[in-house]
């Protein structure tokens, strides 16, 4: 067991830190530290391309697809330096972290050649079409239909809460391809072009006044027969495999963003004197401890990438960070006091910390609510009896 990084790894750290800082203090200073996912999309696509040109976009991928075959340790280091340098949220994070790895793991060579370059360089932005009005926590209840007509799939139905759909080029959709099938059976995982007649996106305004997510409607929308991953009817397995990527190395990048948020809270407390308040100090310490434990939990998970021993830790990770961040939002508001409740301009637009407080209410919902996470932990992690279900 060893935490320290080797000399070669520290050298790698210096290399990526130098590059990132030169870019984010140079050509890309305008998007340094940009919060949120919904602004300056074109500049952020430029940034994806700059990353890709220098093979920093998807460093864990094989070299033939623009990666560096980076070790876990190198990926950790890069994620840390990326956040330290103030790298903006990745415009194509769904492509880079979810779609890409899924295609790498389950896709054909043709699919890799077709999709991976555009994902790596941010020219093709992706979104995730899982949820529907009647399929949220009960994801297997999807009703969106896909039927094969000649050499095309024809898709009809509706998705909801589709993050970033309004500027996405591609969507992966879980659709029911077997008439009359129920639950996880008879689903197919399709990759659909967003720029076609029959796909309509309507933004939904959120709690913070922003509109990052959308309703997505499919009316005889089409994709070629070979746009599916896996086999027809096998979509649930692919969809679940993809969910596993959501807890991979990418989570480390997210944590470093959390680091910056906690540092901003500490700075705010130092400015208004609450850094002397014993109760606030306790809460800041708890937040710090939670953050560190998430980091070392992730490192434990990644060090064990293929071992069953770590299952428990992996299952608990989503609820850990989601709950931690929701609490961080509350801490931020308590530190800011009423000043945190006043927007800077006339618009209903929030600076980073109040926005984080508002956005934090969704962390415990998307990707599986805290309740669903507890069910998963209890049933899969602890072997407790399954929840009773209404349809059986």
């Amino acid at each position: 067991m060893k935490l320290g990084f080797s000399q070669a790894e520290e050298q790698f750290r210096a290399e990526c830190a130098a590059w990132l800082q030169s870019q984010l203090n140079g050509d890309f200073a305008d998007i340094k530290g940009l919060p949120g996912m919904n602004s300056m999309i074109e500049r952020r696509k430029d940034w994806e391309q700059r990353l890709a040109e220098n093979r920093w976009s998807v460093i864990g991928w094989p070299e033939e697809w623009g990666g560096r075959n980076a070790t876990i340790a190198q990926q950790v280091i890069f994620a840390e330096e990326y956040a330290r340098a103030g790298g903006p949220n990745r415009a194509n994070h769904i492509g880079v972290e979810l779609a890409g790895p899924t295609i790498l793991a389950f896709g054909t060579e043709e699919q890799k050649a077709k999709f991976l370059p555009g994902i790596a360089n941010g020219t093709q932005i992706w979104c995730q079409g899982y949820s529907e009005p009647n399929a949220g926590s009960d994801l297997a209840n999807v009703r969106t239909k896909a039927r094969l007509e000649g050499d095309e799939w024809v898709v009809n139905g509706q998705k909801v809460w589709t993050s970033l759909a309004h500027y996405s080029d591609w969507i992966f959709v879980v659709a029911r391809s077997e008439e009359g099938s129920k639950g996880p059976k008879g689903l197919t995982f399709l990759m659909m072009d967003m720029h076609q007649p029959g796909v309509e996106v309507r933004p939904i305004e959120q709690i913070n006044g922003d509109a990052e997510f959308n309703e997505t409607f499919f009316e005889d929308a089409r994709c070629p027969a070979d746009s599916l991953i896996g086999t027809p009817g096998d979509g649930w397995r692919v969809a679940m495999g993809l969910l596993a990527f959501e807890r991979g190395v990418s989570t480390l990048g997210q944590q470093m963003g959390f680091r910056n948020e906690l540092d901003a809270i500490i700075a705010a407390a130092k400015t208004n004197g609450l850094d002397k308040d014993a109760v606030i100090r306790q809460r800041i310490a708890k937040a710090e401890i939670g953050l560190r434990l998430m980091r070392y939990g992730a490192l434990r998970m990644l060090s064990h990438a293929d071992s069953a021993q770590i299952d428990g830790a992996a299952l608990t990770y989503k609820i850990q960070w989601a709950t931690w961040r929701r609490d961080l939002g509350e801490l931020a508001m308590d530190v800011l006091g009423q000043a945190g409740e006043i927007a800077e301009g006339d618009a209903y637009e929030w600076s980073a910390l109040p926005n984080m407080f508002l956005f934090g209410r969704s962390d415990t919902i998307y990707g599986g609510t805290n309740q669903i996470q507890r069910n998963i932990i209890a049933e899969r992690g602890l072997g407790l009896p399954r929840e009773p279900r209404g349809d059986k």
């Binding site: 306790q282 310490a285 560190r292 060090s303 507890r374 069910n375 407790l384 009896p385």
Partner: protein, 351 residues
């Protein structure tokens, strides 16, 4: 970076888990609780047959080398069975002597502690009257103090070895809530104590050892509280269903696992950071002690609640976990104190 056990560490873990499971049984622990809180036979096999008392102590003096990671593995397994052993003395007093003792001090004490021939205990003595190396006053709350042959006592100015049989030393035993680790008062009437050669090193080693040992015990205890409650929830039927099928029940168990997994990261982060002499070591040990103690107490409390009436009985082991957890909360600094150290470290104030 390789934050996973080596093969050798996995082997140690399997060995000690099996050893404590087979030997630190409820009957034997309860027998020890009626005596001085030490299962002597268990301690003898731990020290001599398994040779584990030397883990984390230098090979020159009979130790096995290795480090705090290995020590934590052992403390975790011992804590899982609430074993009645003076393990904490090895983590504190022995570590202090190894880190800050002169060659003679090490040569005199370490082999005896490693073989189990002597038992050690340690405590802070803030508020005692100290003149030169002569100590006077009562040292309170010394864990396993009544059974110890030698004490390591520290304050901000120094660190000393005091023999139980030195003139002027007397010990009062107390009935302690956690009977697996009874606390004693050691009274010193002008005792000539033997200063450790490097007091600073001794203090640091003692504290790190204490915090890691208690954190690891807490981790083991919390995990075992969860395991036993899960087993019960599958066995016990109410309203025609296993109680573990009810969501209010299973969600509590899930929350226990969520905190336990973080506690596990905390223990091994702290142990590695100390072994590697990392800059983060202080942050890590304070984080670990506060987080793991809270986790254990929450899990042991849930263990009682989720067992219903049986969980409240003396006969059931739940109270052993609950009382050990309560004692770990206070020992060597409570959670608020440790978090205050974390706050001072991260806000850039010298503690």
């Amino acid at each position: 970076m390789e934050f996973a056990f080596t093969d050798e560490q996995v082997m140690i873990a399997e060995t000690v888990q099996a050893f404590f499971k087979d030997n630190a049984t409820s009957e034997r622990t309860r027998a020890a609780m009626k005596a001085d809180g030490i299962d002597r036979e268990l301690w003898a096999s731990f020290c001599t047959e398994l040779g584990l008392a030397g883990v984390g102590l230098p090979e020159d003096f009979g130790g096995a080398g290795l480090g705090m990671v290995e020590f934590a593995i052992i403390a975790e397994a011992a804590g899982a069975q609430v074993a009645a052993l003076p393990l904490l003395g090895l983590a504190t007093a022995a570590q202090a002597i190894a880190a800050g003792g002169s060659e003679e001090q090490k040569a005199e004490w370490l082999p005896k502690l490693v073989s189990g021939e002597a038992i050690a205990a340690a405590q802070s003595i803030y508020g005692l009257s100290v003149s030169g190396n002569t100590l006077t006053g009562d040292v309170q709350f010394v864990p396993h103090g009544a059974s110890a042959d030698v004490f390591v006592l520290i304050n901000a100015d120094g660190a000393w070895i005091v023999r139980k049989d030195a003139p002027g030393v007397s010990v009062t035993t107390h009935t302690t809530m956690d009977q697996t680790r009874p606390l004693a008062t050691v009274s010193l009437a002008g005792v000539a104590a033997e200063p450790l050669a490097d007091a600073g090193a001794a203090r640091d080693a003692l504290h790190n050892g204490a915090w890691i040992c208690l954190s690891a015990e807490a981790l083991g205890g919390a995990q075992e509280a969860l395991n036993r409650t899960v087993a019960y929830s599958l066995e016990r039927v109410q309203f025609g269903r296993q109680i573990g099928s009810y969501q209010a029940y299973k969600h509590r168990l899930a929350d226990m696992l969520v905190d336990i997994e973080q506690a596990r990261s905390a223990v091994y982060w702290a142990a590695c950071a100390v072994d590697e002499g990392s800059d983060e070591a202080r942050l890590a040990v304070h984080s670990a002690k506060s987080f793991c103690a809270d986790t254990y107490f929450m899990c042991a409390g849930n263990m009682i609640q989720l067992h219903g009436g049986i969980g409240f009985t003396w006969e059931h082991d739940a109270h052993l976990f609950f009382k050990r957890a309560r004692s770990i909360l206070s020992m060597y600094g409570n959670g608020d104190w440790h978090r205050e150290q974390v706050a001072a470290l991260i806000m850039g104030e010298a503690a």
